[in-house]
């Protein structure tokens, strides 16, 4: 990374980049809100926003203005400090995760050698904000939501990190930019299909997107930790949610889809690299919205069981297989075969967990009637 791109001392340079990022992310999040509403509208057989500006493009701006204009309410019994700082604790770590995002070769806020470690560490802090919001609101729905968020984050952090680890094992580095550059021939998704699938599922859970949106499940806990928030504080949660959607998509495209490097290499210039990253991220975002439009919400025990009983063992197996291949210098296609086999195993296990045999269902029913009587 060229130090001092803006011709200033490194601190000031970093600050300028950070401000750029915050401004950019806000715009990106607003754009994503519009895109999600429009795409979801199409999935719903309707047209989505169309009244504000051409094609409804100004919908997010109108929403933002409305939210700024709203009264910032705080329930009387809420814990003032916890309640008021909850949104910032969600918002700031997500934006900090942006620091290591690779959009173009040599241009990020900072290129860290321990980029992945930094990202994992920073992004999991935001869960503290969720719990703060849930606890501080003095609302039972919020509390249940906050607790659910914490349980979910802790469970899915493990398969998330382990599949990150299997990618970085392959590249031999924790530096995200170097992982991108290492994919100059073949993107990681070819060598690590299982890790990609697990990472995608775990990322959905980290983002609290359906089918893992139980902390905010509208039909049960009515928005969970956000239930008492209004106005600008509520919009911070919202902004954070979409910012993290974007960041996660960029990260997946960098780690598994070859980021700005594959398939054209870096010689086509910075603008083209940015375009490539954004296109890859957009495909992933579309996929995530598609999932949202078509699947129901999991229940909390199913959600936890899926992470601990299925995803975690399989991601450990992936790390193990990677280790064998690297230590014994086996040909890389072995990884592809193993990964595809792993995906088959994953879907078989999922199917088996869902379609319980009649006996298991009968025993569950017996337990229930025992509890009822």
């Amino acid at each position: 990374m060229p130090e001092g791109l803006f011709g200033l001392n490194p601190w000031l340079d970093g600050l300028i980049r950070l401000l750029l990022i915050v401004g950019l992310m806000t715009v990106v999040a607003m754009g994503l809100i519009y895109i999600e509403r429009k795409v979801l509208g199409r999935f719903h057989a309707r047209v989505g926003p169309q009244r504000t500006g051409p094609f409804g493009l100004l919908q997010s701006v109108a929403d933002a203005l409305k939210l700024i204009g709203k009264e910032d309410l705080r329930p009387r019994n809420a814990d003032p400090w916890t309640f008021e700082f909850g949104p910032y604790m969600v918002f700031i770590p997500i934006f900090m995760g942006f620091v290591v995002q690779p959009f173009m070769a040599g241009f990020g806020v900072r290129v860290l050698d321990l980029g992945i470690l930094y990202f994992v560490a920073v992004s999991s802090v935001s869960i503290v904000g969720w719990v703060m919001a849930g606890w501080g609101s003095d609302n039972r729905y919020a509390m249940i939501g906050g607790m659910r968020a914490a349980a979910q984050a802790i469970s899915y952090e493990l398969p998330f990190v382990l599949s990150l680890l299997s990618v970085s094992m392959l590249a031999g580095t924790l530096n995200i930019n170097e992982i991108v550059l290492a994919q100059w021939q073949v993107p990681n998704i070819v060598w690590q299909p299982l890790a990609f699938v697990i990472f995608f599922i775990a990322a959905l859970a980290e983002l609290n997107r359906p089918p893992f949106d139980i902390p905010v499940g509208e039909s049960e806990v009515v928005g969970g930790p956000f239930v008492e928030y209004s106005g600008i504080r509520w919009s911070m949660f919202f902004l954070g949610e979409y910012a993290s959607l974007f960041i996660m998509s960029v990260l997946i495209s960098a780690l598994f889809l070859g980021g700005y490097e594959w398939p054209f290499g870096t010689q086509l210039g910075i603008g083209f690299q940015l375009l490539l990253t954004v296109v890859k991220a957009a495909i992933l975002i579309f996929l995530i919205i598609w999932v949202r439009a078509s699947v129901p919400r999991l229940r909390i025990d199913q959600l936890m069981g899926y992470a601990w009983k299925i995803l975690l063992p399989l991601s450990l197996v992936q790390v193990l297989v990677n280790g064998f291949v690297l230590v014994y210098h086996l040909p890389l296609p072995v990884l592809t075969v193993a990964g595809v086999g792993g995906i088959v195993l994953l879907s078989w296990l999922t199917e088996r967990a869902i379609r319980k045999p009649r006996a298991a269902r009968a025993s569950a029913i017996a337990l229930q009637s025992e509890a009822a009587s």
């Binding site: 078509s294 379609r355 009822a372």
Partner: protein, 374 residues
């Protein structure tokens, strides 16, 4: 309430108030759940937020004015509610309904059953947690039915189209063609739901084995409609005591044996297919003719007597008990609500399960609060 626990900490159950303003209570139902973590230990339901005294009001009105109150009693299946009411009046006044009016009534009632079940599919999809997709799919098809009803009766929800003796006026000339269009749309909708929910792994995982109720318990609670047929009891008033022309056409009573939420969903889906079949056969039978008896009095008076008429509404047995002491208004009117009886079983079905499951159990019995409270 402090419960005994194996942990060294003293734990306390949490009282969670759900409703009357909650997205998943399908109106203004309120329940207080006693939850231990995520598990429901007890449910205390509160009803009555939508009580308008419709039964009492009907006693102050002419027989024909009462029809409007029946619409508002069961606003998602207004035709079915009207049918019970006008059939009760007809039995009291000893009116003969012409054949054409009976066939048209049957078509309308079955179409309204389709509309109501579509509403269930959509709302249930949201309860289970799909973001809006099934809801809007359901509304797309329901809209076709509602449009047809609007063309016929002039209103989209409160039709007031059936009259003691027949119909308010004849259907439009393009009625049969329009019905066929609607059926095509509904068939498409059923196929969409099959694709979107029936085989969806997460949907199956969420609904199978949840909210179980045995046939014996369901009978004890006085449940009816799809909610009891899903437990394996083939109780259908259309088959038990055929009214209109239900014994002249071929149709099946759909039952499921599992008695869980998924079975109730499948049962309703199967019933929609049956309703489509029934309407198709009725359209074949429709002949031109009168829609009201020839000698219809200007002022409808009934001889003294009492009568109980029950019909199969989308949610179960919708009964009207009517006492007349002569004159042009009922002396006493009582509506037997299927939703109220089905709702009794909520606690039985959801205690011991997760909070999220209690919500979908409530969704699966498909209540309409205006019918519960009246």
């Amino acid at each position: 309430m402090v419960t005994e626990s194996a942990h060294e900490f003293e734990t306390q159950d949490l009282l969670l108030n759900v409703g009357p303003q909650h997205p998943s209570t399908h109106g203004v139902f309120r329940m207080v759940m006693q939850v231990d973590g995520e598990v429901v230990r007890d449910i205390i339901p509160y009803i009555g937020y939508l009580h308008r005294g419709a039964e009492k009001l009907c006693e102050t009105m002419d027989y024909r004015q009462g029809i409007g109150f029946m619409d508002r009693t069961e606003y998602l299946a207004a035709m079915n509610a009207e049918l019970s009411y006008v059939m009760a009046v007809e039995k009291l006044a000893e009116l003969e309904v012409p054949d054409r009016a009976q066939w048209i009534r049957m078509i309308l009632v079955e179409l309204n059953r389709l509309a109501s079940h579509l509403m269930f599919m959509g709302a249930f999809g949201i309860d289970v947690g799909v973001f809006g997709t099934p809801f809007i799919y359901a509304w797309r098809e329901r809209e076709a039915i509602i449009d047809l009803f609007e063309e016929i009766s002039g209103d989209r929800m409160m039709y007031a189209y059936l009259r003691p003796g027949g119909l308010a006026w004849d259907v439009p000339t393009n009625f049969v063609a329009r019905c066929r269009e609607v059926l095509t749309a509904v068939n498409q909708g059923i196929a969409d739901f099959d694709g979107l929910l029936t085989k969806n792994e997460i949907f199956v995982a969420r609904t199978q084995g949840i909210g179980y109720i045995s046939a014996a318990d369901a009978i004890d609670f006085g449940m009816s409609g799809p909610s009891i047929r899903a437990s394996g009891v083939p109780l259908d008033v259309r088959r038990e005591e055929p009214y209109l022309k239900y014994n002249e056409i071929k149709w099946d009573v759909i039952t499921e044996t599992d008695g869980d939420v998924y079975a109730r969903y499948l049962c309703r889906l199967g019933e929609m297919r049956e309703s489509v079949k029934i309407v198709e056969q009725c359209l074949e039978q429709l002949q031109p003719g009168a829609i009201m008896p020839e000698k219809m009095p200007r002022m409808l008076r009934t001889p003294p007597g009492e009568v109980y008429i029950r019909t199969e509404a989308p949610r179960g047995e919708f009964g009207v008990y009517m006492v007349s002491k002569g004159g042009n208004r009922p002396y006493r009117l009582k509506v037997r609500s299927a939703c109220l009886s089905n709702l009794q079983a909520l606690k039985h079905m959801s205690v011991g399960q997760y909070v999220a499951d209690a919500i979908i159990v409530l969704g699966s019995i498909d209540i309409v609060l205006s019918e519960v409270d009246r």
